[in-house]
Symmetry: D2
Amino acid sequence: MSAQAATIAGTRIVPEALSRHALIERFQTIRNFTEHLCDPLETEDYVVQSMPDVSPTKWHLSHTSWFFENFVLDLEMPSYRSPKPEYAFLFNSYYVQSGERHYRPHRGLITRPTVEEVFKYRQHVSQHVEKLIDEASQETVVRIAPIIELGLNHEQQHQELLLTDIKHVFSVNPMKPAYAESKPVQRASATPLEWIPFESGVHEVGHSGASFAYDNEGPRHKVYLEPYELGSRLVTNREYLDFIEDGGYERAELWLTDARPKVDEEGWRAPIYWEKEDAGWRQFTLAGMHDLADDEPVCHLSYYEADAFARWADCRLPTEMEWEVAADNVQLEGNFVDSAALHPTSPPKANSGTVSQLFGDVWEWTGSHYSPYPGYKPAPGAVGEYNGKFMCNQFVLRGGSCATSITHIRSTYRNFFPADARWQFAGLRLARSV
Amino acid sequence: MSAQAATIAGTRIVPEALSRHALIERFQTIRNFTEHLCDPLETEDYVVQSMPDVSPTKWHLSHTSWFFENFVLDLEMPSYRSPKPEYAFLFNSYYVQSGERHYRPHRGLITRPTVEEVFKYRQHVSQHVEKLIDEASQETVVRIAPIIELGLNHEQQHQELLLTDIKHVFSVNPMKPAYAESKPVQRASATPLEWIPFESGVHEVGHSGASFAYDNEGPRHKVYLEPYELGSRLVTNREYLDFIEDGGYERAELWLTDARPKVDEEGWRAPIYWEKEDAGWRQFTLAGMHDLADDEPVCHLSYYEADAFARWADCRLPTEMEWEVAADNVQLEGNFVDSAALHPTSPPKANSGTVSQLFGDVWEWTGSHYSPYPGYKPAPGAVGEYNGKFMCNQFVLRGGSCATSITHIRSTYRNFFPADARWQFAGLRLARSV
Amino acid sequence: MSAQAATIAGTRIVPEALSRHALIERFQTIRNFTEHLCDPLETEDYVVQSMPDVSPTKWHLSHTSWFFENFVLDLEMPSYRSPKPEYAFLFNSYYVQSGERHYRPHRGLITRPTVEEVFKYRQHVSQHVEKLIDEASQETVVRIAPIIELGLNHEQQHQELLLTDIKHVFSVNPMKPAYAESKPVQRASATPLEWIPFESGVHEVGHSGASFAYDNEGPRHKVYLEPYELGSRLVTNREYLDFIEDGGYERAELWLTDARPKVDEEGWRAPIYWEKEDAGWRQFTLAGMHDLADDEPVCHLSYYEADAFARWADCRLPTEMEWEVAADNVQLEGNFVDSAALHPTSPPKANSGTVSQLFGDVWEWTGSHYSPYPGYKPAPGAVGEYNGKFMCNQFVLRGGSCATSITHIRSTYRNFFPADARWQFAGLRLARSV
Amino acid sequence: MSAQAATIAGTRIVPEALSRHALIERFQTIRNFTEHLCDPLETEDYVVQSMPDVSPTKWHLSHTSWFFENFVLDLEMPSYRSPKPEYAFLFNSYYVQSGERHYRPHRGLITRPTVEEVFKYRQHVSQHVEKLIDEASQETVVRIAPIIELGLNHEQQHQELLLTDIKHVFSVNPMKPAYAESKPVQRASATPLEWIPFESGVHEVGHSGASFAYDNEGPRHKVYLEPYELGSRLVTNREYLDFIEDGGYERAELWLTDARPKVDEEGWRAPIYWEKEDAGWRQFTLAGMHDLADDEPVCHLSYYEADAFARWADCRLPTEMEWEVAADNVQLEGNFVDSAALHPTSPPKANSGTVSQLFGDVWEWTGSHYSPYPGYKPAPGAVGEYNGKFMCNQFVLRGGSCATSITHIRSTYRNFFPADARWQFAGLRLARSV
């Protein structure tokens, strides 16, 4: 086996992952976790698409399987046959070079295949991928390991989307059903906000090395940063309530011009899952409706809201480079999907003078539009559509959330959403220039 | 028991229906038939709303139960408790006087209650209605019989809608699943079209007598008709194909001004469920995709298409009064849901000189806008919203279809749809002035 | 000259009109009146289209000229040349058989030809039509007289539209400019409403005879009417205010289902030109903003509003046949454009027991959808598109308004608008069944 | 007079400009040039708004006057009275802190004030500003000079918009009127494309010094650039035609995901003003329709088109920093509005090894989203809304165009438009990483 890391579409993979056994085990662990997330669901819950951005659970289960079928089995296993060739049309998301696709906003109109058939399809694909890894030549394994690794990271992204989407699906039901009881995570009081300073100078940012990363995280390159300061923790519900109570949503001068039609036409007056009742503010969570907790990080903000809040606070959002420089060499720990809290939590007691909560809880909106790094080149072919073609009119988020797997995140990871997207687990940290 | 028919909201009911036993039996028969129609469905099929006009099967099952709960049990059975008070919000269709309602186009976003819970809700309501009929005073039975009868007719309407809607749901799935194999109905060749003449003069139209009818079928009143002729049978697929092949959809001069934006923007070039393949035209049916049969009545036309076809044929659509005068005293027989064909069929051999196929197969578009009859008064209260508030910008259809129950239809029955609606089982018969 | 009336497209014309001199004089009178209506306008006022239903004044001036060019000069005067062949594209309204047309909602985007060029175009067309009448053979004059008569009636319709449209154009300007001072018409107090009864029976309705009428007014035919009563006068502003103050716009049960999205989305709370100020209600008129006068007929209602008001008053709108039977043989007099008031006025003192204000002031909404009369046939060719293709989802209005020429109206005249149209001079009269 | 430059809203102004006489002269020159641009227009041309992004000429004339009224006269000249207070509502563009505004897409619905009144309003404002400069205390002149300078730069921006918008207005007229004959600019053949290299390192970018610049051009700051190359000239029509003929618009893999709905729904197949006729491609210009010239810079591209072309050419767009570093110290010369060509021209003969056409001809799309520079702070108050609130979902363009004044542009100037905007004079230059 080559000691060199294989590379495809910006995906790099370390040699030790190329042990067949380890690869199969990792494949099974991640595939099983997807199914584990479905345990609390009823059959009806798998079918619905509550808005165009949301996909039905059924679709997530199928699409992540189609990914392996399309990018691995169809190419590398001549004997492989799809149980239904129409699935390729239904479960291709946006890869124009992989053929025609079903219209995205219509994913919730498809009753068949049934959930049972979808699970069979998953099993069919999984068994063939495992067989392929087990039986292929060493040369083939080296060649396909990176795309399998990409497929597993892709599956982890859809695990987070599955939770994000099912939360929205449940939220539009007037009966507000709960997905599951959340496992309580120890709560603390929010610590006073400190400002942590960073000096100016040339820094290296972006991914390097042999471990897996998406192509949009590289190439590693130099940037010059002017001096800046970051807030020591995430912004809390209590702080965001102050903004609301100060007329934040009504004061047009606090908002980007782009934001106002959304705010006005959709009547935004609070984060998407907040509801004001006579007894006070409540919030829809994956565990149903709960009272708003002052010290938790504010969650489910759009970029517009995060930006307006920062302006109201006479601060700004950090750039993604400022965030990455701060997160470099910080221990990767936090409230991830692995904790099963499924909700952001109050900050842990942190040492004064440090930036805490960089990972987990909520994705942090940065003030950086999502653009390619200098020298960025997407891979040839359909797999090159993974990231690059979205580099327009989106903003970068960093750090992962309570719905992200800890094995999926790192300091160079670039998530991205349009400025008006509110249903993902996103909050903010303040920054300021010196 | 009073010899007088009880009346509510234009609903008249004959005394013999007031036998408790007969009423319960009729109640059970009709309620069971709704559930029978669900036998071929998978759980996933119950959830989807494929366009705003369509309702999920789950919703039809619940709404027809809510109707009895709201208009009978809540009023007449003080001990009755709804299993979930939120159901009233979810399952009220359009009765503004019965309280706030869920937004119609969002019916397909609701995963809970589950299908199983919905069937339990149906059972709960049915058992209480039966108990009420069984145990109430004779006076109460006389009072509630008309509204129960209205509820049963309402349920039969939703049985037809359930089939109409699930056909659309399946049609938008690229895999084109079948609802069920249709029971073959004997096919004949279409007989040559004859013109059947009717003389001018004053006629009486509208419902009278003690049997059930909707309020919009009365009062019975006089109309003056100029002489006219009706086609002896329905227009066939072959005849409609001639229209298509003659450029019917492209020739703007054949169409109402209102129709063109729809035709152009949605690219209409054939009835909604037709598809042209290399080997010829095919049609989506409740039994899946089938070759187009020349001699079957053309089905799933909008008013716009029926009107353009008639203009192309140098004819016109009959008015609803011309249709009713022709149907008066004609034996009620035809291809109804009871035959389980679930698809229109070629006409039976008919005696020359008679108007055939007046009932069943397809609803017949008339050239009459849906307006109130002279002296029409809706009932007071929410039940008065059943028909009257829709008397604007819709057209009347007559005669029932292959998805209608034979016990639900009669010569005075007025169905109505907007001019652009295409998903219901609707075709046409030609008429002309003399 | 033939003693026979020539007929085209349902247009009938009496022999005496065929005197060349009289025809030219009538042509000049009506053409000049169009230009007279433009006297108060600035150049900028001619250009704007304030909503898709409105046409710029410039367009009305050109289109009415194109009508004569297209239907008379191009066919009957071989030597005629259009000054700009592109005008046919720009100034054809909706005659698909006369060739491609400019997109209607874009009429206000066209700055050239200038107003001066448009007036030259009018003059060019007028001179040639006059020359044609003057010099053509007698046979030709007989043949073209009906289409010229149609063109003149068409021009009178556009005179009313010109006023209706320029009122809307001025109304959307926050500075609320006035078109012109209105000539005061003597005001009276509204008389108490009386109910005038009509008996049941067979009546003849529709146009007959040699005078001009549109094709949609015939054929004359018999109808049977049940007994009914009409209000002795139009509904007044004061009565409509009572409806508003009783929560009329908020009470959904008073409205057609079709109406509510409009009412809710566009926030209807009063007729289109009413504004509530601290000192009371005011109304935009062609003479600018004025205080609302209690006793004037309510004006600028949609069908939806007229229908909701009638339901609130426990009455209904008359059918168009009920109106026509009442108007038959009534003297044609009232407040027309000829009075230059350009605004509806309080009713004249009327004899008790009679139906007053049938003509002029405001068009009266009827409860009748706009449908063809029995035996109706549009003329062949483009001119047949004048009326027939609009017979869908519109309602009939009767009697003319303060913007109609007295020489343009008659008891059989059928105007028609969609149910949501509010910018035309339309009000209502109550009716009820007996 | 203070030797210090006065500063407002990022506007810096050199002391010598504070000579009253020089300031008045500059004020008059720029104000007069706006009116000079209107010379070829007819009254009707001033009124129309051909799409929401376009403003009527009348509005540009008024808004630029309102700017001086609102930001100078109302604050600094107590005796000043607006001729019509309603103008503030009509002619405020987007300054929420300056009060309520007219709805932008409705600017073309306003016929009054007339063009004549608008010119009077301009004169009224100009005379008062001149009087103020002439008569105010020296201290006041120092204080207001920066805001007057901002107003003059603002007016120059609207001069370019006026031309850009009137071109669009004329283009939607099927008669394709010409604004004016363009003054021919000497044409050359396009030189072969050379790649000009730039080295990596830390650069300073952004405006500094005492001359005027917008606030978004600063603060001057350091950036690190990786090595890159720029095309020696702009992309030509011929090169863009190659892209079209290679199926560029149809090949989805060349486009950003965001772009495809626009391309597909609006049927983009060429730049907005190109039309393919039998004899070949033609292009609408301010001088009317002309044959497409191969060697001219391609113009009127959206960002989407520029980006897709660059991807097709296996290159990319330069970042705004790469562009600025290349333009630093380059002589400011080119084809500007001052040449009266009003159309981009073939490149001048350039020395090999240099980057030519950086200024004038067409704005150059960069690959940089429009974001604030480190340390950017908008001015307090309404004037701070000038730039900052648009820093979301737009891209930066550099270098000016044939519709820009040479006195208005510089190497640090940041123009910005949304990615789908096509009506401005925008083209592209290729770049690539090394």
